[in-house]
């Protein structure tokens, strides 16, 4: 326990008597108390200390004394430290040995409303021009690739292919099967009222094959592989591995981005096909076990209602999603700053960019298909 008493000696000196233990976990004395005391005695010209019965101390007493010291120096009161224990004196000297550098302390800058809008606009322009630059570089790299000016090595491509195909199958199976199931459930509730439960097959078939299979595969890959790409490239940026490529004259876009874009644009349609199948199986489960439909009946109805056009639209969409997811992952990875937290932000941002791109692309493709009438 700590306690403080005050004595005033004859030469207008306030003696602060400190007793007991001044420890961070037990000290309940705040410096304001002592400063109030000093302020209340206007005639005091110096402050000294009596620490004969001080038992233990740590940073808490230093903090207290440092505040008193700075209060004294700003109010022309003499701070007498010679009666303090030697360790405390030396630490106090050390704390004031290097004076605070001017302009070092960070101030919280509060921008006005208009300044914030301006900054946001500037950031947006910068972000967009970076994105355009990246797209340009990728296009150039792609042209160089198909004209045979450089080639991608199998040893780099194969691990990426594996990462975005077989490794993703379990989660794609689960999600698309459940989506098919949900679609069938929701549709069945309405269709059963008209005795038209057989149309559940059409509903699930068309929805999965035309849009949902591609979108589900795309969203899963954005969360899984897009984030992984961003984290891989971001970590390489942090480790200076990307610098090492650049200084060797090897373009990071050609060496790191193109294999990933290629891998995902080839594999995404396959994953989409698989997701379509799993979705239809999910729908069939509802049809067979809940609506008492025959498996063959369900199969034939699906085959009759889904046109080949829908199938190709779905496959085309997934191809576009593959490119978008890979590009947004790689873009965020390459933009990554040099810290561990930046890698996390890059991964998060890659997923957000990927999903936003997928939704926008779906909307655009759907409208376009409507316009050209397929």
């Amino acid at each position: 326990m700590s306690s403080v008493k005050y004595e005033i000696s004859e030469d207008k000196c306030l003696v602060v008597v400190m007793e007991g233990e001044f420890l961070l976990e037990s000290s309940d004395l705040s410096f304001q108390e002592v400063i109030h005391k000093i302020e209340s005695l206007s005639e005091v010209s110096s402050v000294s200390f009596n620490t004969r019965s001080l038992q233990k101390w740590d940073s808490s007493i230093l903090n207290l004394l440092n505040h008193i010291k700075s209060h004294c120096s700003s109010h022309d009161i003499l701070f007498i430290k010679k009666s303090l224990p030697g360790g405390i004196q030396r630490l106090l000297d050390l704390a004031s040995a290097v004076p605070e550098r001017k302009g070092v302390r960070k101030r919280e800058v509060r921008n006005s409303f208009f300044a914030s809008i301006g900054n946001a606009a500037l950031n947006f322009t910068r972000g967009s021009s970076e994105m355009l630059g990246f797209l340009g570089e990728t296009t150039v790299a792609f042209v160089r690739l198909i004209t045979g000016r450089y080639r991608i090595r199998g040893s780099i491509l194969i691990p990426i292919l594996r990462e975005c195909s077989t490794d993703a199958l379990p989660i794609v199976s689960l999600i698309s099967c459940l989506v098919g199931l949900i679609l069938a459930f929701v549709g069945a509730v309405q269709l059963v009222m008209f005795g038209a439960q057989i149309y559940v097959a059409s509903l699930v078939g068309i929805a999965m094959i035309r849009v949902m299979g591609a979108v589900m595969a795309g969203v899963i890959m954005a969360g899984r592989t897009g984030a992984a790409f961003a984290a891989q490239l971001g970590t390489m940026e942090v480790n200076e591995e990307i610098d090492a490529l650049k200084t060797l004259g090897i373009s990071p876009v050609e060496f790191l981005v193109m294999p990933r874009v290629l891998a995902l644009s080839v594999l995404m349609p396959l994953l989409c096909l698989y997701a379509d199948l799993m979705g239809i199986l999910g729908g069939m489960a509802v049809g067979v076990f809940m609506l008492d439909l025959n498996v063959m009946e369900y199969y034939n109805m699906t085959r009759d209602s889904v046109s080949l056009n829908s199938f190709w639209i779905g496959i085309f969409q997934s191809f576009v999603f593959g490119i978008l997811v890979a590009l947004s992952g790689c873009l965020r990875g390459i933009q990554c700053k040099r810290s561990a937290s930046a890698v996390g932000e890059a991964a998060t941002s890659a997923v957000v960019t990927g999903i936003v791109a997928i939704v926008i692309a779906t909307a655009v493709i759907t409208v376009l298909c409507n316009v050209i009438g397929i």
Partner: protein
Amino acid sequence: MDIKRVHITVKDLTMAYGDLVVQQNLDFTVNHGDIFIIMGGSGCGKSTLLRHLVGLIQPAIGEIFYKDVNFWKASAEKRKALMKNFGILYQSGALWSSMTLAENIALPLEAYTDLSAAQIGELASLKLALVGLAGFEGYYPSEISGGMRKRAGLARAMALDPEILFFDEPSAGLDPVSARLLDDLILELSESLGSTIVVVTHELASIFAIGTNSVFLDPVTKTMIAQGDPRLLLERSEDQRVISFLTRGEGRGAES
């Protein structure tokens, strides 16, 4: 006095990140075969200068010449040809983590030579043996220690027998003996290959052991305040900041 051939010339270089000036008015030359030290206190922009020299950052003002070629005014192809002659050892080694050590060393060879896969493999093994890592061809960078990673990074930097080797804090994070061995390796390379070597460091022991020329960057005035052989600087410099740096703040009297 023998006339030395100038290899790198830096003219009136100002380095800046946006509005923040890191260093300004840098003027120095590096001769063929020099072991050139870039030194200075923490945060004075040593590594930034190195990143300018190797072409990773474009200077805000000023020019960098390699022999008589202006690096940033040259065409992209010319620049690429110049960069092919650089070997760079990054602070953390910067080995490509998805590739084995042999593949790391093979990549520059594959990019710039028409050698067969077998020849490239042999060369990679040779470079690894030169830095004392024979037999580690199949290891991934995450499977070896920090000192070994640095040496493997050096092997990669030497893959194309570059004319200039750049080292970013070679002894950072190494124990004194490994740091000493790396210094010896740098000296050996300089003598046997005749390469020009540029080293960023603040390790006094290395500075005096290997340096033949140097530039001293000051973080407060944001410019260079001394240049020349570090040993001569220690003897003759009049600048208190340089003396203090080269004697660990003890002053010249304490040294003798």
